[in-house]
């Protein structure tokens, strides 16, 4: 099992965001789906210790993440946030940021290609790119760390249809060319269906279903249809 969350509760400013969450995420492509404010992004941040739960534990490949060095964990389990948050400088500066900190070698050109960007972008000012291009630079700089897991928080929510299809294509190619696992947070059930094999449905901080995507989404749709009648 890639990740296990055991009875995890997390609060923020006195409000419970996740309540008694128990989840198993296998190796491969998983998706966490649910409406806005349901706690999806918070769950993702617990996986690479950008936050720690108030109660319960988060396990990565059999080890409690609190026993791991958070810096090493974050280089192995790399998160791409929902909105572009680039550093000042060129696209190359952004791609180089993580590997330089870790002392890894890296190849800007291949990272940009994997993220679906023309390598000629390397010298461009990162802040002069479109939102869609910036989002792909975020993906490229995460890939540059050569992570084993990519955590993707609504990677296409700020993009138009064409840019969304491009990023989804990038993720499919990335998975075909590398052994990387992904955990995708999205409010878009169809995107989860397109990109993941396993799904966790979450609502108001509680897990309402989890399992292989065909079963969970079909069951949910049946339940929704029954509620509607």
């Amino acid at each position: 099992m890639l990740f296990e969350l055991d009875q995890v509760t997390y609060s923020r400013a006195g409000a419970v965001v996740l309540r008694d969450v128990t989840v198993r995420l296998p190796v491969g492509a998983s998706s966490v789906v649910g409406p806005s404010g349901s706690g999806k992004s918070t769950l993702l941040r617990l996986l690479n210790r950008l936050a720690d739960p108030d109660a319960g534990r988060v396990v990565y490949e059999g080890k409690d993440v609190r026993e791991l060095d958070p810096l090493v964990l974050r280089r192995e389990v790399s998160l791409v946030p929902q909105l572009p948050a680039l550093i000042d400088g060129t696209v190359h500066d952004n791609v180089a940021y993580g590997p330089r900190l870790a002392g890894h070698s890296f190849d800007t050109r291949s990272c940009l290609e994997l993220a679906g960007l023309d390598p000629a972008f390397a010298g461009r000012d990162a802040f002069k790119l479109s939102v869609g291009e910036q989002q792909r630079v975020m993906l490229a700089r995460a890939i540059a760390l050569e992570p084993r897991v990519l955590l993707l928080d609504e990677p296409t929510s700020a993009l138009d249809e064409a840019a969304r299809e491009a990023v989804e294509g990038t993720l499919r190619r990335l998975r075909a060319r590398t052994a990387i696992s992904i955990v995708l947070v999205t409010h878009d059930v169809e995107q989860a269906r397109r990109l993941a094999e396993f799904v966790v449905r979450i609502d108001a901080g509680r897990v309402v279903a989890q399992g292989p995507i065909a079963e969970v989404l079909e069951d949910s749709e049946v339940a929704l249809a029954e509620d509607a009648t």
Binding site: A51, L71, P81, D88, G98
Partner: protein
């Protein structure tokens, strides 16, 4: 070398001080005419400055008469504590800012006063250490407060960017490094700019005071230069140390933002 004191001094009566209030009345009238709403604040400022300066005047008189180094250390320590309390209110976005401020003001005061005494610029007597110490602590407090205020605002405004760099394996120190540069600059820029323009656009207070007291202009200028250089060093130490100590307070030991961005 010690700077010679003015050979003579001027005597100021309370009546002359009261006469200077005529210009305060102008300020109050201007505030009333323009509905600036500053009359009450001007009144409070006048009353507080009179009470505080008169009180510190008596304290300094006692310390000068006693000629006690321990009393000097005690007075400057009190200034440092009050300075840290005052600056803490300005740096309200910085968690637990009091201790970084206290440490930075104490080190800035000790380092700069220690250096000017060790170099023989000033004798280690209350007559030199008290006024110079007051200037060092006051300017250091302002610089540290401005620097921390800027750091707190920037960390709050850029929490997404900071967390994105933490997610790439940056330590908390590395994640705030770009903000530290800006905060340090904010803390120091006022004094640096005023040092650049000194003698051209304005005459600094010490030099004016010495000239009014009848000192030789050359001595007044040299003493002012020493104080400007000492202050530049002091504010650098205070701002840098306050930022270095306080930046940890935004993060947990596991390099997590204590106040993460809104989802």
């Amino acid at each position: 070398m010690s700077i010679p004191l003015a050979a003579s001094s001027i005597n100021v009566t309370l009546g002359e001080v009261a006469a200077a209030l005529a210009l305060v009345a102008v300020a109050a009238i201007a505030s009333r005419v323009w509905n600036a709403g500053l009359e009450e604040d001007i009144g409070i400022a006048v009353a507080r400055s009179f009470i505080q300066l008169t009180a510190i005047g008596y304290v300094i008189t006692v310390i000068f008469d006693e000629d006690s180094f321990a009393l000097v250390v005690g007075l400057i320590s009190v200034m440092v504590v009050f300075g840290a309390f005052t600056a803490r209110h300005r740096a309200k976005d910085v968690p637990d800012s009091f201790w970084p401020l206290l440490a930075s003001l104490a080190v800035a005061a000790a380092a700069t006063l220690g250096l000017v005494v060790a170099l023989g610029i000033f004798d280690p007597t209350p007559r030199y250490l008290v006024p110079v110490g007051g200037m060092v602590v006051g300017n250091s407090m302002t610089a540290a407060a401005v620097a921390l205020n800027r750091l707190g605002e920037d960390v709050h405004d850029q929490s997404r960017r900071i967390e994105a760099t933490l997610a790439l394996g940056a330590t908390s120190s590395q994640a705030v490094t770009p903000l530290v540069r800006r905060s340090l600059r904010s803390g120091m820029i006022t004094l640096v700019d005023s040092t650049k323009t000194t003698g051209l656009i304005f005459f600094p207070g010490t030099m004016v005071g010495m000239l009014l007291a009848g000192a030789d202009p050359t001595d007044a200028v040299r003493l002012q230069l020493i104080l400007l250089y000492v202050l530049l060093g002091a504010v650098s130490i205070a701002a840098l140390m306050a930022i270095t100590l306080a930046r940890r307070n935004f993060f947990t030991p596991a390099h997590q933002l204590r106040e993460p961005p809104e989802p």
